[in-house]
């Protein structure tokens, strides 16, 4: 009804939807530089820690794990929304989908971080993954759980089932991104609507069976590399907990990417305050979801007060970690909840970008809170003296990831112009 219909061809002009000049991808130098620096930093952190051995090696490994699990969560979150939108026939996201695709496409690369962790853990006989340590070989609980870790054999053997699972995560994540993201790239090259529709149909078919596979691989990856840090602990909430933080961080990250692109004068009229509004609603929803899930997990263990379960929270409520826990309650829930509760804030690009940056900080703090207290369980750590290991490990992985995203964003058109839903997304409006 509105008389304000802008012409799609001007909105989708090459100048508006490509970074840099025609033909020359932008951000390649910056991206490659960041990746190089990031990988160097992460390698330096690991090298520094592993060469010293003992708790310092554990510390470096924990930092690296925090970095890897943080970026895997971001990529998984983006993949999740792509699959869900495809299944729900959701049109409004077509103009912001490309940035979700860019981040999701890095999932197989982020998975390589898990392979690094796997190799170091097996070679070092359980720096962080305690069940690999010889000292627990005769542990009663470990014997009961041996099938899950080793499949065949037991303590001392190569954990075949564990290795096979990690390889399966890689294969599943590669295939899902290969179809979901790859088909979107193929759409760029075709101007034939029938071909584009066919590619979209294949994405939908893959998403239908891919979503359960996604849920299981995400959950088990979280069991293996986060919950497995303390093999005596178990939580049936754990997969959902990691999913909540994945969806949360994926949304926050993409909000920042989009806001930066608009700040560079791109995507004008293509990504509007309406898209930010909806993105903000999802960010709000997953702020609440994370709080709900993490409180539920905590509440049941607090309530039942069983030693093998409460040990997890005992580690995180003592030795100063309680302050990080309190920070998470306030920073991961209360602050964003109150801040993006208002409809106005969700629509303003700058405010939503600030929220996205904040999401990244609390997201990494969340994974840090899960892994790091296990390094010095008796509080005999170097305190802030060991902070350089955290900075190198976490910062290195995050920088490398950021570099990959920048290179990816610059190398492609900023929207999938032939997306079947593009028309709907350009006209998208929240009529309430």
């Amino acid at each position: 009804m509105s008389s304000m219909h802008a012409n799609p061809s001007t909105l989708l002009s090459a100048d508006n939807i490509t970074l840099g000049s025609a033909g020359a991808p932008a951000g390649k130098g910056l991206g490659t530089g960041l990746v190089a620096v990031g990988v160097l930093l992460a390698a330096a952190g690991l090298g520094l820690g592993l060469s010293k051995g003992g708790s310092t090696a554990m510390h470096a490994m924990a930092a690296f794990t925090v970095g890897v699990m943080s970026v895997i969560a971001i990529s998984l979150g983006c993949l999740f929304f792509l699959m869900v939108w495809s299944l729900l026939n959701a049109g409004w996201g077509a103009t912001i989908k490309r940035q979700f695709e860019n981040v999701a496409s890095l999932l197989p690369i982020a998975w390589l971080g898990l392979v690094v962790i796997l190799i170091i853990e097996i070679a070092s006989k359980g720096l962080m993954l305690q069940w690999l340590r010889p000292e627990f070989a005769s542990d009663y609980l470990l014997a009961k759980k041996a099938v899950y870790f080793w499949g065949v054999g037991g303590p001392g053997d190569l954990p075949l089932f564990f290795i096979a699972r990690t390889l399966f995560y890689g294969a599943a994540w590669w295939y899902l991104t290969h179809i979901v993201v790859g088909n979107a790239r193929k759409m760029d090259a075709t101007s034939d609507p029938a071909t584009a529709a066919k590619l979209a149909a294949q994405v939908r078919f893959t998403s239908a069976w891919g979503l359960p596979v996604f849920a299981l691989t995400l959950s088990f990856a979280a069991f293996d590399y986060l919950m497995g840090v303390d093999f005596k602990f178990f939580s049936t909430m754990w997969g959902v907990y990691y999913f909540a933080t994945a969806a949360f961080s994926g949304l926050g990250f993409v909000a920042v990417v989009l806001a930066v692109l608009l700040g560079k004068g791109k995507l004008r009229g293509v990504v509007t305050e309406e898209h930010f509004h909806d993105l903000g609603k999802l960010m709000f929803a997953f702020t609440v979801f994370w709080a709900y899930i993490s409180f539920c997990q905590y509440f049941l263990y607090w309530y039942s007060n069983i030693p093998e379960e409460t040990a997890f929270y005992l580690h995180r409520k003592t030795l100063g970690w309680q302050y990080l826990g309190a920070f998470l309650m306030i920073g991961h829930f209360a602050v964003p909840f109150l801040f993006i509760l208002s409809r106005h804030v969700k629509k303003v690009r700058g405010l939503l970008m600030a929220t996205g940056v904040w999401f990244m900080i609390v997201h990494v703090a969340d994974i840090f809170w899960v892994v790091r207290p296990m390094v010095y369980p008796t509080g005999d750590g170097p305190g802030l003296g060991g902070a350089h290991l955290d900075v190198l490990g976490i910062g290195g992985v995050l920088l490398a990831f950021l570099g990959l995203v920048i290179a990816k964003v610059g190398s492609l058109p900023l929207v999938g112009v032939n997306d079947p839903y593009m028309g709907e997304a350009l006209e998208h409006k929240n009529y309430v």
Partner: protein, 190 residues
Amino acid sequence: MQIAASSRVFVTDRDEKIYGVLAEFATPAALYHAAEQVRDAGYSKWDTFSPFPIHGMEEAMGIKRTILPVLVAIGGFSGAGLGFLMQSWMSAVDYKMVTAGQPYLAWQSFVPITFELGILLSAFTCIIGMLALNGLPRWNHPLFKKERFLRSSDDKYFVCIEAADPNFHPEKTRALLEKAGATSIELVEE
């Protein structure tokens, strides 16, 4: 019942009080553009009626955003705050009892009820506030007396400008609606 903002009262020849002027339009587009004209003429007490929601009608009518969300926020936060206070007072002041070896003021155990009361009071504020702001419930509406108006739930589109509007004038309002392309215009008695 609407209360007239001004002291002016319009009556028909048969001495019936006038509720307003009802104009019929043939298409959603005609209604949309008529709404823009009524809005620009400065009317405030009026409404449009269509068998289905028309996208963008809020802007065409110049409807301001409702204050309901603010009310709901106040209701929700009061509910959560009072819920927490109630439990704290009960467990730590009024009737101290050690439960499961936890402190009296174990905030963890207060969370579910705090949450529930937050939800409860926001839901109540939402539904009661919505009804109050809409002037509901009410027994009847003057427009229901018009046979023609029933087609607003089928295939016709209507604008009704109320006599209680300070800008209302029997001839001028009628002329405005005619100019806007109404296919039929009639007076509505209360």
